[in-house]
């Protein structure tokens, strides 16, 4: 009866900070189909990493994604260390966790702000991003970069956090926790916010398993999966409880991430409390050889590095499977049946990182 509406959603679209295109097909006002078009941001980074030596690659790999850059370099370094049988000093492991969890906080806050923006809650966005500056400041002070920390290296970390800064880190944690209380209720309880998130973009547990989604998206659908449980690095010393929700809608994803914020704060504190004295990096000799898979839980979910060395300082293969890459098929299952105005919310609810996806 009526003709289908076909609109391009992206690449240049204000609610998507990153270029991805969804060809949306609407019947009347219901979205019936979405076909993604990617490649707007494909650089060929895997190939380049094979052309640079394995230390230089760290800086490249940090720039796979500007949001979870530290966790990328951490996963990569862990892989190389495993290949070269390097034992990382315990202090470095703990420092890595401090930065990793702070990165998770900053990433989740960023996501939360963008979500607020996607349903037009501008002042909530502003408030959350103001809070996020606190994390950025402490990262800048400890690591030397606001988003590109550049501290992780093979064999440890490049910088230590001196005791006076450790105090500041703890103070920041308290400040953050106090600030969260101002806006978290709005994300979780506000009627208008719930209207936009509850029951929107539902991904059932079955579909979540079948489509292989990861991270908060999977956890919000009731899939128990948090790679930190697998005890890599210093996570071996802490108990990480995966945050699970059953509903699988955008609201459940918010809840999971909100709880992870507090969890991350807790992990930072634990990590500070158990920070051992000693070296924070050890010199590394030789070149990587063999095959290794390194997995790390990023803010968006599990990232997989498949590294293959050949005894030279260049790798044969550096393969990254980023969380958004795994979540895209899940996204395609959420969209059909929603309304056009829900599309931005659903897309943002998986916390897409296209630059990760396409590398």
């Amino acid at each position: 009866m009526t003709r289908q509406t076909i609109i391009p959603f992206g690449p240049q679209h204000p609610v998507l900070p990153e270029p991805i295109q969804l060809k949306l097909v609407l019947e009347d006002k219901k979205v019936v189909g979405a076909i993604p078009s990617i490649g707007y941001i494909h650089r060929g980074l895997e190939k380049l990493a094979q052309q640079k030596d394995y230390i230089q690659s760290i800086f490249l790999i940090e720039r796979i994604c500007g949001i979870c850059s530290f966790l990328h370099s951490m996963a990569y370094c862990q892989g190389i260390e495993e290949m070269m049988n390097v034992e990382v000093p315990p202090r470095a492991n703990n420092l890595r966790i401090i930065w990793a969890e702070m990165h998770r906080i900053h990433s989740h806050l960023l996501w939360m702000g963008l979500l607020a923006d996607s349903f037009g809650f501008e002042s909530l966005f502003m408030e959350i991003w103001r809070c996020r500056e606190t994390v950025l400041d402490i990262m800048e002070e400890t690591a030397g970069g606001r988003v590109m920390l550049g501290v992780c290296t093979v064999g440890g970390v490049r910088r230590d956090i001196p005791p006076e800064l450790i105090k500041k880190v703890l103070a920041t944690c308290d400040e953050l926790q106090a600030h969260f209380d101002h806006f978290i209720p709005s994300i979780l309880n506000d009627y208008s916010v719930k209207q936009r998130t509850v029951g929107v973009g539902v991904l059932t547990k079955e579909v979540a398993l079948e489509r292989g989604v990861v991270g908060p998206v999977a956890r919000a659908s009731g899939v128990v999966m948090d790679h930190r449980v697998a005890k890599y690095g210093a996570y071996a010393n802490f108990d990480v409880e995966p945050q699970i929700e059953q509903d699988g809608d955008c609201y459940a994803r918010s809840k999971v991430r909100v709880r992870e914020l507090y969890q991350s704060l807790d992990l930072v504190r634990q990590s500070v409390a158990t920070l051992p004295e000693g070296e924070f990096n050890i010199p590394v000799k030789g070149n990587p050889d063999g095959e290794v898979i390194s997995r790390v839980e990023q803010p968006r979910g599990e990232v997989l590095y498949y590294l293959r060395g050949n005894g030279s300082k260049f790798l044969d293969r550096m393969r990254v499977r980023t969380p958004t890459f795994a979540n895209l098929p899940g996204l395609l299952a959420m969209i059909p049946g929603c309304e056009l105005s829900d599309v931005p919310v659903i897309i943002l609810s998986i916390d897409p990182c296209i630059s990760c996806t396409e590398r």
Binding site: I35, S37, I38, G39, H42, G44, E46, K47, Q51, E82, M83, L209, E210, R211, G212, H227, V229, A230, G290, E291, V292, I293, E302, L304, Y306, R308, D316, R317, R319, R321, F325, A326, L328, P329, G330, E358
Partner: protein, 121 residues
């Protein structure tokens, strides 16, 4: 180091993947490495944080069957392999025809190590 590697051939790939699917494994991804004389394809599956890998040795010019009819989530990665390694993938549920990651004007099969496609270093 990677343990748990099960070698498969082109003929046994689909049946093996089907078996793994029935055991409720999750497909993490497919890694592809061009080793010059042949292409090495690794299928990573996960269950309870344990990885199981299938290793497929692919001769140059061979076509690989798509597992996207079993694991839909393989669509994107298989398209990517098709794009970047120039390995034709047969039976994709959603076939981008080599234009998912790469544009019309991009270099073809850039990650394949064959001399024709390798960029000058």
């Amino acid at each position: 180091m990677i343990t748990n590697i099960i070698p498969v051939t082109l003929d046994t790939l689909l049946s093996k993947v089907g078996e793994i699917f029935l055991q409720k494994y999750r497909l993490i991804t497919i890694s592809c490495t061009d080793l010059g004389e042949y292409i090495d394809v690794l299928y990573h599956f996960d269950k309870n944080y344990e990885i199981t890998n299938l290793r497929l040795r692919l001769e140059r010019g061979q076509e690989v069957p798509s597992i996207s009819s079993i694991y839909f989530s393989a669509v994107i990665v298989e398209n990517e392999i098709q794009d970047l390694f120039g390995v034709p993938v047969k039976g994709l549920v959603l076939d981008y025809g080599g234009k998912m990651m790469l544009a019309e004007a991009s270099p073809k099969a850039p990650q394949a190590n064959c001399p024709a496609a390798a960029p000058a270093e």
